[in-house]
Every structure is written in structure tokens, then in C-alpha cells.
Amino acid sequence: MYAQLVETGSTRLRKLDELSGDERRFQERIDAGIKIEPKDWMPEGYRKTLIRQISQHAHSEIVGQLPEGNWITRAPTLKRKAILLAKVQDEAGHGLYLYSAAETLGVSRDQMIDDLHSGKAKYSSIFNYPTLSWADIGAIGWLVDGSAIVNQIPLCRCSYGPYARAMVRVCKEESFHQRQGFDIMMALCRGTPEQKAMAQDALNRWWWPCLMMFGPSDAESVNSAQSAQWGIKLFSNDELRQKMVDQTVPQAEYLGLTIPDPDLKWNEEKGHYDYGAIEWAEFYNVVKGNGPCNRDRLKARVDAHENGAWFRDALLAYADKQAQRSTAAAA
């Protein structure tokens, strides 16, 4: 998802009766549904895992502005441009809520930014794909933000208070993102045959990367079992992916678009859609840094940070000078 393949440092899951002392009391609080707050005792693994997960989530929001930012100056109408600007501004806001939540765990903002820029920290694989046409902006809102909502709604109930509260704010705003995307798709699908073909082409390119966003099956993963025990992962990757497929197929049918999967069909017995095999080699390749846009995305972030350094420093120097003057005036 926005956080993929999060490492927990656990090699084996220990049951409650194998824990003692602080660790046992901590697990009992989580099992009882009591939120963990920044100053509470927590296992080092929980703290580190959350820093990895929340910062990866934050980085995804920030890098996620780039594919859509690509179309702000080329939006088809002033109304679409204003909406897209507001949407991209929301993504920045989501990144900021999440960075703040991660900082309550004792990591600094600068450290997190450095880790992103050095490649040590990841962001979601989905943002390494290019936005080739205006229809991609529709497909991103509809499918990428749609997948994000499926993942983020359970996180509003996760065990770490600041993360859960940030997710509540994010989810309230995310619904606008998905709807504006679907609205773009509807306009294209009701337009000329060329416009409808653009919409179909965007769906063809974004469908499989969106299914990959949820990450590989984690039914057997120790990391996922540990995150589930800690209450920071509430559903498996496969469960969330199935939910996304089930809710999206009827929406595609409404648009008159075809999902690019010949194996996709309703399974009456299961009450879910069956879908074809995902090419995980592509996912791992993108995660390793070899997707279509990995280098561009990271370069855009590093350039923005480095070219803005003099300005950030100047503002701080100004604030320090003003503070000194007011101290001198008071003396």
C-alpha cells in the first residue's frame, strides 16, 4: 500500500503468555483496544516499525504530488485546474500530518527527509509510473486514491494514537480525491470516441500497478503477523486488494470500460471477483528503483530540497535576529 513491505525486525511471533513485564502490559493494552500515546512505554521494535511505516506513508504523499503536478499547467479547463491544485495541496497536507505523527516517535523531520533522499526509506511503488495523458489524472484519483482509502480506513483504528488521528483527517479528505477522479473519467467516457479511448488506455496502464500497491500476499509473513499483533495492520494485503477489486469492477462497468484482465470474473460461491495472476517481478523491480520514473521522482525531491535550502536558512536567520532584537529591547 502507501507503506509496502514494512520490516518489523521480528523473526518469530511471540504469543501473549511468552511476554513479560512492560512488554506484556503493552500487548494487553493493545489487545484491550487502548491507544498507545507518544510518552507511553513501547517496545523498540514497535517504535522502529511505526517510524518506517509512517515515514514511508508520508513520503508517498509527498512524492505522490509529482505525477499529478505534471498536469496542473495542462488541465483542460480552469475548473479542473483549480480542483487539481486543491487535490495536490491536500497531498502535501497529508504528508505533513504524517511526518508530524512520525516525529512523536523521536525521529526528526530532517532525518526522515535525508532517508528518503538517500534511498534508505521507500515510498509507494505506484508513484514511479508516468502520467501520459489527462485521463491518467482521472485514473489516479479513481483507482490510486480509491485503493488508498481501502487501506487507510482501517488505519484510523490502529493502535498508535497520533497515527490513527492523522488517518482520520486524511480519510475525510481522500473521498474528494476519489470522486474528482471518477468525475474526470465520467466526462471522458461520455465524450468523443477518442476521449473514451484515452480513459480506457489510462485504465489499462494503471489497473495492475494499483493491484500491486497492496503488496504481495502476506498470509505467511512474520512481519505482517507482528504488525497485526501490534494493531498497526488490521487486514492482510490480499483482503484489502480483494475489497478494492470488488468495489471497482461495477464502477468500471458503469463507465463502459473494460478492466484489462481476461481472468476477471464473478465467483458466486465466494461472493467475490476472481482476478488473474499479478506480475510480482514488475513490482519488485519498481521497488528496487528500476520503475519507469524512480530516478526522476527522487531527483525532483532532492532538487527541490537543495535549491530551497538557502531560503529555509534565511528565514531562520531572520527569526533569530528578530528574537535577539526583542530580547535587547526588553533589557
Binding site: 510518552k39 497536507g93 508530524s100 530532517d110 492523522a166 529555509r312 531562520l316 527569526a319 528578530q322 528574537a323
Partner: protein, 94 residues
């Protein structure tokens, strides 16, 4: 020069006459910028009519380790709640 802008806690009063409520935090070089950033980050959908910002370093908080002794005195005083006093069925408006 490599120095992080200080952290500020943000409090917003909504339109419904409630008290300022903590909504999150942000980095800013000074108080004026903190207010401007708070507007952009926390009130994009008319969430507030007033913003307070305070440097996070200036917040004094109770310690979670002392939670039990700090809040213990209230635990034994259930009579502070109106439900402590059962009222007869026929008594109204009380």
C-alpha cells in the same frame, strides 16, 4: 548551516463555539509563519475561525509514569456523578 525549524503545536477553534482544540503540529521559523502554515495545513475546509500556536518545547505535560497517582484521587469519588443518586421513576425534571 543545517538546522531544523522549531516545532509548533496547533490549536483551532471551530465555528460552533467550542474551545480551541489541539489538531496537530508543524515546523515554522517563527510565530507568524506558524500561523500561516497552520491555516494552510489544518483549515483548508473552513475548520476554524481562530488559531493558536505554541512552541512544542514550551508545553509542559503530565508524565505517563505518574498517571496512576495523579488521577487516583478522582477514582474513589463516584458520588461526583449524578448517576450515583438513583431517582424514583415518578420524579421528573431532575
Amino acid at each position: 548551516m543545517k538546522k531544523e525549524w522549531p516545532l509548533w503545536e496547533v490549536f483551532i477553534r471551530s465555528q460552533h463555539g467550542l474551545a480551541h482544540k489541539h489538531v496537530g503540529s508543524l515546523h515554522a521559523s517563527d510565530a507568524e509563519m506558524a500561523i500561516n502554515h497552520a491555516r494552510d495545513v489544518y483549515t483548508r475546509r473552513n475548520e476554524g475561525v481562530s488559531i493558536w500556536v505554541v512552541r512544542s518545547a514550551d508545553v509542559v505535560a503530565s508524565s505517563p509514569d505518574e498517571k496512576a497517582p495523579l488521577f487516583e484521587p478522582a477514582n474513589s469519588k463516584v458520588y461526583r456523578h449524578p448517576t450515583f443518586f438513583p431517582m424514583p421513576e415518578e420524579i421528573k425534571h431532575i
